[in-house]
């Protein structure tokens, strides 16, 4: 899934400011990557190269760290980020079926993004709303006590 990099000079300026600020901090790589993902929405190779250059870190180390942690993404996410909680409490209450329904409705697999860039789907590990299990999130909105029948209606709200 190749997506053309569309970073702007403003974004680059923001990132350079973050790197300048953090350069002297011990173990600064993780916070820099987190800020970079906030700025760009994901961490394409172009951004990783920039960080490697400016922090004198080998690119393979940066790539190694980025691919190790599940929160860092090499690809852009959808406009609406759907994530279904697959924590144990949600799972025993049927989150697996909700996940299947989401895949069916969106016609994508976990970790994927619809072709129009509108929806991306991820499974996450416990957002901590176990009282509302099973739970899913669309961007910052939380939906709890879900049944498979409600999924289509919820997705339709976002377009």
């Amino acid at each position: 899934m190749a997506v053309a990099f569309t970073g702007t000079p403003e974004q680059e300026k923001q990132l350079l400011a973050v790197i300048g600020e953090m350069k002297e901090t011990k173990g600064a790589l993780m916070p820099i990557l987190q800020k970079a993902q906030e700025i760009y929405g994901y961490l394409p190779i172009e951004v990783q190269k920039l960080i490697a250059d400016k922090t004198d870190t080998p690119i393979e180390k940066i790539y190694g760290v980025v691919t190790f942690y599940s929160q860092f993404s090499l690809y852009p996410k959808g406009k609406f980020q759907v994530s279904i909680c697959l924590g144990t409490a949600c799972y025993v209450k049927g989150a697996g079926d909700i996940y299947d329904e989401l895949k069916k409705q969106l016609k994508i697999d976990g970790g994927g993004c619809t072709e129009d860039g509108k929806y991306s789907l991820d499974a996450c590990r416990c957002i901590g709303a176990c009282g509302l299990a099973p739970v899913m999130m669309v961007n910052d909105d939380v939906y709890g006590r879900l049944t498979t029948k409600e999924i289509k209606g919820i997705l339709d709200k976002y377009s």
Partner: protein
């Protein structure tokens, strides 16, 4: 002075249920009724009874409104806060006693709890340091710095019997003692806090950070004084935005008050704390992996020795304790080691917080004295299983723990008892399962998790867990033979013995414990090709009950493979050879005429 205090839960559970909007509505309604000078609104941390959220508590009466919606706020303000008439229809029914309102502490959910780590959660505004100080906050740090030697602090913690609440159960005082003494003249030492709560289904650490962040900061400063460190780090999951925000506020306020930083209490003691965010890796809950991650690397564990007490973060002596462990420290300093060790069992002192979840009525957070029976937690505090279903198992310890069957319900919960029956305390997730949960499927669920989260550094864990997962998948598809169970069991012991870190060493536990107590379910999958709980899709078959079918054809129209046929207004039938078991027909049928078994 306000005549009424309205406490609204601002924990993650209630926030997900809309409590932020409730606070906004309260402010608006109170302004409308000109009550701004009489009623104070406080956003607190978690009350614990998440199943009944969003929660609003009104003092001085102590009225507990549960499952409050924004639409209810106008009524609560105009009736209760303006006219003094309690809105009984919204009150948590267990606190309603004919004409009077019972105290929360008399309800089944709260009466057997004993709150030490959670003592301020749902009581104070976590974003206001003055409220923490008002409940005795930072007194313990003052006492330690002005009247105790570091050795005395360590001795107090040792005497209290406090053990690590992250799951390992290592004596906290001993950890501190080692870090103080192994390298006495180290130029730098570190105090770390493990807030990378990875067990999916455990949220006690998050609730402490959201509800009482200063308790953790204060305890870390005490630990710093005890071992001779001046810098602390809290490694917190990035998935906990509310906890992170409240920690940032708390650190800033503590610095402003001179309770973090230089020359604290004018004793010459310096201590500061930095936040580091995780990025979604379960293995980072392991101590050496966590430190490697703070250093800015892939969070892979490293062999021990050297132990962190000798060579930890940035190669300096380091202690790492869990959030809940720290949350006990200040109370032990203030009330004494004997007070703490009087609670609990012989080898496990104090209390433990559990996150109750799954098939249980009172989902939420409970803190119980060690030694309380599992039955008390599930049946009394948890209010039992919903819909009259039968209890099948309680899972503790998450992906590292095991399933506890009904015959062990009377076990007294402590570190050693849980290990003896093949589970473990873990960080405190307690997931209840009923007759509709398949234990093979649950074992497979946890293995899928460990396969996904294995860091890949050592072979037994990287490859072994995958092989285990494949065998479990074969079983749930009805393609396994009885020899596969022996193979699976052997693999379990190899992985336990040969993995580098705790993740791999405990990954087989969910399989071993379900094999021990629920072997009949494994056998049913293999020999009878049946899933007794009706969960494993490949072993299910769908059929239509002719008596219930009205012949409306809705199922036939929705079936993606044309497996359902029939004549209108007569019972339809499913061709099981064609059926792909997608379940579309079941969710379409309005008459409950399609069953899977």
């Amino acid at each position: 002075m306000f005549r009424s205090q309205v406490l609204v839960c601002g924990g993650t559970g209630c926030t997900s249920g809309g409590s932020t909007k409730i606070v906004e509505a309260l402010h608006a309604e109170i302004a409308k009724n000109n009550l701004e000078n009489e009623v104070n609104i406080v956003t607190t941390g978690c009350f614990g009874l998440c199943a009944n959220g969003p929660i609003v508590l009104v003092y001085p009466e102590g009225v507990f409104y549960s499952q409050v919606k924004v639409e209810n706020i106008a009524t609560i303000v105009s009736e209760h806060l303006l006219k003094g008439r309690i809105v009984k229809s919204l009150v948590y029914d267990e606190t309603l006693d004919k004409d009077a309102i019972k105290s929360l502490n008399e309800t089944n959910f709260y009466k057997k709890q004993h709150r030490i780590a959670l003592r301020n959660c749902g009581v104070i505004n976590p974003e206001d340091i003055d409220e923490y100080i008002g409940t005795g906050g930072y007194e313990a740090l003052g006492k330690v710095l002005t009247s105790m030697k570091p050795e005395d602090v360590i001795q107090t913690i040792l005497d209290s019997g406090l053990r690590g609440r992250g799951g390992g159960g290592f004596p906290t005082g001993l950890k501190w003692k080692l870090a103080r003494n192994i390298v006495p003249n180290a130029p730098q030492k570190y105090v770390c806090c493990n807030a990378d709560e990875g067990d999916p289904g455990a949220f006690m650490d998050r609730s402490v950070l959201e509800g009482d962040p200063h308790a953790v900061l204060e305890a870390m400063a005490i630990a710093g004084y005890a071992i001779g460190a001046t810098q602390g780090y809290i490694y917190v999951r990035a998935e906990y935005p509310i906890a992170i925000k409240r920690l940032e506020i708390a650190i800033k306020q503590a610095r402003e008050y001179g309770l973090l930083g230089e020359n604290i209490f004018e004793t010459g003691f310096n201590f500061d704390i930095g936040l580091r965010l995780g990025a979604g890796a379960f293995v980072c809950g392991e101590e050496t992996a966590l430190m490697t991650s703070i250093e800015g690397n892939r969070g892979e564990p490293r062999p021990r020795p050297p132990f962190p007490a000798e060579k930890g973060l940035f190669d300096s002596p380091t202690i790492l304790n869990n959030v809940e462990t720290y949350a006990n420290v200040c109370q032990i300093i203030l009330n004494g080691a004997e007070w703490f060790s009087a609670m609990g069992t012989e080898k496990s002192k104090g209390t433990k917080v559990f996150a109750l979840g799954g098939k249980i009525n009172n989902t939420g957070l409970v803190e119980i004295p060690m030694g309380t029976t599992l039955r008390t937690v599930i049946e009394e505090i948890g209010g039992g299983i919903p819909d009259g279903k039968k209890f099948k198992a309680a899972q503790t310890g998450g992906p590292s723990g095991g399933c506890i069957p009904p015959e062990h319900l009377d076990i007294e919960i402590d570190y050693d008892n849980l290990v003896a029956i093949g589970s473990m305390m873990g960080s405190g997730g307690l997931i209840v399962m009923d007759e509709d949960n398949c234990m093979v499927d649950i074992a497979k669920f946890f293995l899928e998790f460990t396969v996904d989260e294995s860091c890949g550094k050592c072979t037994p864990c990287r490859i072994g867990t995958r092989r285990m997962y494949e065998i479990l998948e074969k079983i749930t598809k009805g393609q396994a033979s009885m020899e596969d169970i022996d193979k699976l069991e052997k693999l379990c012991y190899h992985i336990k013995e040969n993995s580098l870190c705790g993740l791999g060493q405990t990954a087989p536990n969910p399989v071993l414990s379900t094999l021990r107590y629920f072997k009949d379910e494994y056998v049913a999958h293999i020999k009878d090709k049946k899933c007794p709980a009706g969960v494993c899709k490949d072993l299910l078959s769908f059929s239509i009950i002719p008596e219930k079918c009205k012949g409306c054809s809705a199922c036939a129209r929705v079936c993606p493979v044309g497996a359902i046929t029939g004549e209108l207004k007569k019972p339809y039938t499913i061709d099981t050879d064609k059926c792909i078991k997608c379940g579309a027909c079941v969710s379409t049928c309005k008459f409950g005429a399609i069953i899977k078994k």
